[in-house]
């Protein structure tokens, strides 16, 4: 009886959140909804549906912030296996317009690939927590299997962008656990040698995107259109921007997918270089703060997991920012907490819930 009461108190006490991190996240969400209003040409239904999604993410954040990291660590194998099972169901029962990505669970749709962005780093961190570090080849091979199986399944859906992020989230854990530099160098060298093989495995449209990235002007009304229009949107924003909702590139529909993957181009057009820098600074603060919390966590599990979650956010920002400015090829990765749609907003916020649980634990056990 008393243990029941104890449990209740554990779940309903005052929120255990890191206030600076939460404020920064809320600011970012606010920026996202503001830009979405402009990108969606004032369609409030789009804005409200994104707000609802963010709300769900915040609830997930508050709940996960209360889960003690030790418990998460013990649950890790089960969480991982359950997510993997859902992922295996996708090819059989999944739905989606361009390939099977979504799973219908009676009342709502989920994207198991998104959940993997949390399950994989949690699993790898939990596994490494029990091993001798820095990891040797045997341990690394197990990590490779934990990361590789879901990555391959997601890449075959086909969803290369998400597969890449899932892979990165696991690799970051291994990196932060202290994998020796010479091993990293050796593997990187081997990967470079294997790259031509990977090229043959890519889908045609990925190869085309890559070639277009190298020379967008060659095909200005086909694949190169997105890159050119996006660069024009960004560049014409200038230092101060054209003003909220005034961006002609988005308004006249020159810019493709301007509520989802290319929304940051709308922000760049509306608010200019100053707006871009403020948002990038916000991202830098969130990443830095998360890394700081992670570095001060109690054990390998907390440190590596926290770092991985922070760095995954960074990959989103880098890949999406690189894409809209023509630095990187067009890969379907959203700008975190700003792009419309997907379940990525929910999983990202849930990830920061985990980061906050590390912070809470540190404070209480000190």
């Amino acid at each position: 009886m008393s243990s029941m009461l104890h449990r209740w108190r554990h779940w309903i006490g005052p929120p255990r959140v890191d206030i600076p991190l939460l404020l920064a996240l809320l600011a970012l969400v606010g920026v996202g909804l503001t830009v979405l209003h402009s990108a969606a040409a004032g369609d409030m239904r789009v804005v409200w549906s994104q707000a609802a999604r963010t709300g769900a993410g915040l609830v997930a954040l508050l709940v996960l912030a209360r889960v003690p990291p030790a418990r998460l660590r013990l649950w890790a194998p089960w969480i991982y296996l359950a997510t993997l099972a859902l992922l295996l169901l996708v090819p059989v029962f999944g739905t989606g317009r361009s390939g099977r990505h979504w799973l219908y669970l009676g009342a709502f749709y989920i994207q198991p690939a998104e959940l993997m962005k949390l399950s994989v780093p949690v699993m790898v961190a939990s596994f490494l927590n029990e091993r001798v570090l820095p990891p040797r080849w045997g341990v690394l091979a197990v990590c490779a299997a934990i990361i590789g199986v879901p990555t391959a399944l997601i890449a075959m859906q086909p969803d290369l962008g998400t597969g890449m992020l899932v892979c990165a989230s696991g690799v970051f854990v291994v990196f932060c656990a202290g994998m020796a530099w010479w091993r990293i160098g050796l593997l990187a060298g081997l990967a470079a040698l294997a790259a031509p093989l990977g090229w043959t495995l890519l889908k045609d449209y990925h190869r085309r995107r890559f070639m277009t990235f190298l020379d967008p002007e060659a095909d200005p009304l086909g694949d190169g259109w997105n890159i050119i229009q996006s660069k024009i949107a960004v560049g014409s924003g200038g230092l101060w921007g054209k003003g909220w909702g005034e961006g002609t590139q988005s308004r006249l529909e020159f810019l493709p997918e301007h509520t989802t993957d290319f929304i940051f181009a709308v922000l760049s057009e509306d608010f200019g270089f100053v707006g871009v820098c403020l948002v990038l600074a916000l991202y830098l603060f969130i990443i830095g703060r998360s890394l700081w919390i992670a570095a001060n966590a109690r054990d390998t599990f907390g440190r590596t997991l926290g770092c991985s979650l922070a760095l995954t956010l960074f990959v989103y920002v880098l890949v999406n920012g690189g894409m809209i400015t023509g630095l990187l090829p067009v890969i379907g990765v959203p700008m975190p907490l700003i792009s419309y749609g997907g379940t990525s907003a929910v999983t990202l916020l849930a990830g920061f819930g985990i980061v906050m649980s590390l912070q809470a634990q540190r404070r209480f056990r000190r």
Binding site: G238, L252, F273, C277
Partner: protein, 619 residues
């Protein structure tokens, strides 16, 4: 103690390494975000002038060009579905401003129903504010003229030319060709949305739906120059659209007309097949409906009227109608008896007028009181002697009977290239267990022998079975598409036919015997349908079988004249036939709902159809 090769854990060192790694990661993040910021600075600050100019000059937009939909012809090149130029009214919400006020003013100029206006306002709110939404399809010439005069009152509203689908034969082919309708959300789930950029219509039923991807074609792109408000200035380049393929059906429009005429307005269904290859020469479900109103959006009232019509014009009887086959199943049962070695054509069965299972009280009756005496296969078929088939079904047993009938495709869809085909019911103990969770009773085997009890067939299944009786027992899939043409000057490409399978009958002589017994139905001195032959002067022989599916059970001794019953209590009249018997070129299945007896009502219809086809197509 430290074992070589198995290092001890050192939590402190691990923590130090990991903190250092976090720092490395942070420095990396700072550096790469710096690169990203530098890139933004390059684009937005140093190259601002260039991109500002390009943005100002950015006036070329890509616009989809909707391809012309493929035409549909009959086997002789008669046009069954074509496209006619028409005008529609499109409105862009953000340019209109006050939608309701605009609609109110618009209704002074063009006729717009309440539901049409509601649908437009709803659709317009659902789309993005700068996307055009259709207000009304198929404007009349007077409406186009009146709108042109008043155009200044309607900013954001435009008359747009487009191609409208038309079905010149009206209701004659509705159940074959189907129709196209306005694209809705569920269509875009099914088809690739990108291919329908700018398109307004999509195949909703029939051939239009089955071959949607071939009829639709490939959208083109037009590069147009727009001004700062996004208004079109001129066309600067285009990649043309590719029209959809033209389709040539197996249907013969004249025969189809002859089929409908033969029904003289009675409800029912008919299928005419070429037994040699499964081509559907005619397919009619009556009454039918006019598909043309569906193209521009049928009104709620008109649609409700069609739905609530008691003779169900929207219902495709050929594909979905479930009928008790009655005596039309007898040729197949007889064939099972010969083919499985239980009977020879000369074997006789004694008909006393009432058949009883040993140890059972219940009597199963012949249609003639007092019975038909000793009858062999020919007499049993010609006079439709129930007792012959009762006894044969009992001798076969339900398992064997059911398995043999399955060879002819009963109980499963034929696989015709139209959607929504029903499976019917092939009675068997397994089916009854699965569908009703009840055991099989011996009496049910008895009536299965005369096509009663649980039997349910679609007209198409029965036509397929008849074609198999005619072609030596080879299963041919009924199909409607004969050829296609990529463009008007390209050659017609015949659709590949699936390789013909092997005959399901072990000995062709058995089929010949059954065919001969079916000839006796029409040409024999005692045949049930001999009476109708007097109306025809054929010059060839027809094999056929009548069927009268019961709607009321015959409990009383009083013999009922089915043609005297009230209309809705009359039986379904069925007739299957193929001709000429020596080298069949046509197989027909006819059912008349509430039509009285098969011999008096259905047989003349079938004979008129066969005659119309064979007279026009001498061998």
């Amino acid at each position: 103690m430290r074992t070589p090769g198995r290092p001890m854990r050192n939590p402190l060192a691990e923590a130090t390494t990991q903190r250092r790694r976090a720092l490395v990661a942070f420095l990396l993040v700072v550096a790469l975000l710096g690169v990203l910021a530098a890139r933004f600075a390059w684009l937005q600050v140093f190259s601002y002038e260039e991109f500002h100019t390009r943005s100002e000059a950015n006036r070329i937009k890509a616009r989809p060009i909707v391809p012309a939909r493929g035409l549909i012809y009959d086997r002789n090149g008669r046009l069954l579905a074509d496209n006619v130029p028409a005008y529609r009214l499109d409105a862009v919400r953000e340019d209109v401003g006050d939608l309701d006020g605009m609609v109110a003013r618009l209704r002074e100029v063009i006729t717009l129903s309440d539901e049409g206006a509601e649908a437009f306002v709803a659709a317009s709110r659902a789309r993005r504010s700068f996307q055009p939404v259709t207000v009304k399809l198929r404007l009349s010439e007077a409406e186009v003229a009146r709108f042109a005069v008043n155009r200044h009152r309607f900013p954001g509203v435009d008359v747009v030319p487009y191609l409208n689908r038309r079905y010149p034969y009206g209701d004659l082919f509705a159940h074959v060709i189907g129709y196209v309708g306005r694209i809705d959300a569920s269509d875009l789930e099914r088809e690739d949305a990108a291919r329908y950029n700018g398109a307004t219509h999509i195949g909703k039923a029939g051939i239009e739906r089955t071959y949607e991807s071939r009829l639709h074609g490939q959208i083109g792109v037009e590069q147009v120059e727009v001004n700062a408000e996004g208004r079109l200035l001129r066309v600067v380049g285009r990649e043309p659209a590719h029209a959809g393929q033209d389709l040539y059906l197996t249907i013969d429009a004249q025969l189809q007309q002859a089929v409908v005429d033969a029904f003289e307005g009675q409800p029912g269904a008919a299928v005419v097949l070429d037994p040699r290859n499964g081509e559907v020469l005619a397919l009619a479900s009556l009454p039918s409906y006019d598909p043309n109103p569906f193209v521009s959006g049928i009104g709620r009232q008109a649609y409700a009227a069609l739905l609530n019509n008691p003779s169900r014009p929207l219902f495709n009887r050929v594909l979905q109608g479930g009928y008790e086959p009655g005596s039309t199943i007898k040729p197949f049962i007889a064939l099972a008896g010969l083919d499985l070695g239980l009977r020879t054509p000369r074997d006789t069965t004694f008909s006393s007028g009432a058949f009883r299972l040993p140890g059972h009280e219940r009597e199963y009756r012949d249609w003639r009181r007092g019975g038909h005496g000793h009858v062999n296969l020919n007499e049993a078929m010609a006079q439709s002697v129930n007792t012959y088939f009762f006894q044969l079904a009992v001798d076969l047993g339900i398992e064997r009977l059911s398995r043999y009938m399955a060879r002819f495709g009963f109980g499963e869809p034929t696989g015709i290239d139209l959607q929504g085909e029903a499976s019917g019911v092939l009675p068997s103990p397994e089916w009854k267990r699965a569908a009703r969770n009840q055991p099989w009773f011996p009496g049910e085997t008895v009536i299965a022998g005369i096509g009663q009890g649980f039997w349910v067939v679609t007209p198409l299944q029965l036509a397929q079975g008849t074609a198999m009786l005619a072609n030596g027992g080879v299963r041919v899939k009924p199909h409607l598409l004969r050829a296609s043409q990529r463009s008007f000057d390209a050659p017609q490409e015949l659709e590949p036919l699936p390789k013909p399978g092997k005959s399901v009958v072990s000995n062709p002589a058995h089929l010949a015997a059954v065919a001969e017994s079916m000839v006796a139905v029409l040409h024999g001195p005692t045949g049930t349908a001999r009476g109708v032959m007097s109306q025809f002067d054929l010059g060839y022989r027809i094999a056929g079988k009548t069927g009268t599916a019961q709607r009321i059970t015959r409990r009383t001794e009083a013999s009922l004249d089915v043609n005297q019953l009230p209309f809705d209590q009359r039986h379904n009249a069925l007739f299957i036939a193929f001709a000429p018997v020596e080298a069949p070129r046509v197989a027909v299945m006819v059912v008349l709902e509430h039509g009285g007896s098969g011999s008096s009502v259905a047989a003349p219809v079938a004979l008129r159809i066969i005659d119309a086809w064979l007279r026009k197509n001498p061998p």
